[in-house]
Assembly symmetry: C2
Homo-oligomer: 290 residues x 2
Amino acid sequence: MHTILKSNTKTVTIGADKPFVIIGEKINPTGIKKLGQALVDQNFEYVKYLAQRQVAWGADVLDVNVGHPQIDEAAIMPKVVEAVLSVVDVPLCIDSNEPKILEAGLKVTPGKPLVNSVNGEDKQLATVLPIVKDRGAAVIGMAIGNEGIPATPEGRLAAAGKIIERAAKMGIPIEDIVIDPLVMTVGHNSNAGLVTLKSIELIKKEYGVNMSLGASNVSFGLPDRHSVNSAFLALAVQTGVTISITDPIKLGSSIRAIDLLLGKDANSMRYLKYFRMTEKLRAEEAAVMV
Amino acid sequence: MHTILKSNTKTVTIGADKPFVIIGEKINPTGIKKLGQALVDQNFEYVKYLAQRQVAWGADVLDVNVGHPQIDEAAIMPKVVEAVLSVVDVPLCIDSNEPKILEAGLKVTPGKPLVNSVNGEDKQLATVLPIVKDRGAAVIGMAIGNEGIPATPEGRLAAAGKIIERAAKMGIPIEDIVIDPLVMTVGHNSNAGLVTLKSIELIKKEYGVNMSLGASNVSFGLPDRHSVNSAFLALAVQTGVTISITDPIKLGSSIRAIDLLLGKDANSMRYLKYFRMTEKLRAEEAAVMV
């Protein structure tokens, strides 16, 4: 199954037979204090820098989130989208819990964007899905039900199914739904990795949809998070995940390696090109910092 | 299925429901010039250092290979085994192509060792399996037939089957056979990773045996080999590999992370302990080098 995203001139195809798709996660003030302040100041140079840097390091799509207590998010979202599009031309992933902020972002985004996200709660489905349908967008559906995050793979399958079926009733095709099977930290629950992998397996078997994963939650609270995140990404891709909202600078090379090992990179061309490109970027960025 | 290895006092159990087992690969003069010279000089201090360091970094078993053109390997093998056993007490993996060198090593090795290796060529089966049987050892069976390394997963399954069946006829139980499905470099053939993963799947389904992998061949000739090796290890473990001959210093943390993610590490105890231990070792080794 292929999920298609588009910018003005670029098409990104998500699918098990395609290279893994990276959504750059960094345009999000949660955890980046400097970005929050820049948005408060309506200074969009830092947004442009984050957009360019992530695309240079291999992001195929950019997530845009403006969640910050001191700003009018619905007013700022379109300005951030325009700042991003002034420097890069990739499909966007408009990220908010608030329908009116999603609408504000989607209105100024060309092509076919991704909406991040809807979950399986009745209220969310009723407010977010119509926006997705009107805009002709694709949407990330979090495997969460009315009672929160299901503890079992079967529960997450049911939550995913509810989203897919509700969307179908509204005329949103199944290929426009990307399910996030959710991952909790293995630091708190040693079975968290297995529960997510089993959820991916069940959802793939039942629906064959594309699946997305935030690959860094899994290691929260643990030391040497990179070893855990990169291993989990490999396990999740082999099980059926096809896209991730992540940091391309940290995980880009692991992702290229996984594609190569799974036979999606003829003559290692993408792997080698990525290595040469990022080696150059690393040297350039080190020179700027000196 | 459990494969049991033993030293004088320690038992290592290999199995899909157990933590992944690491065979330290470093006692092998191929590629370590300093070790080759030490063996020529019959100076075993460096052997002892390599043994202690690998066990400190998490090796469960140690491979012992003395292949070097300038020495009498059958005479040196027992001395190296004795040097190793004078500083660590872990099961050993006696590594040679020559039956008489294997015999020389096995004679002085206590407990239940592993033999590295036999392949599916008639001549090798006829010379190595009797040694394994006489000693009551376990053996690594390389999925190679009379015509060399099979290009297809079905060919590797057949080679593995030939080894298992020939061993059975001689009274070697299937749990004492650890199959190596072989991995070629993806730098030369982009399908090499997939062929190995599919071979693992077929062999697991047909025989349920433990499988071993040399995890670093896969990245030969590529840059940033660590990204490729660690990703491949995750893919291979998820598919059915339970033991690897590898460098514990480079891949120990990835292996602990994979075990954690696959639900084999209650409360992250092993992962956290390994991190604290290796952080200390890293500091100590850095201090010695200054």
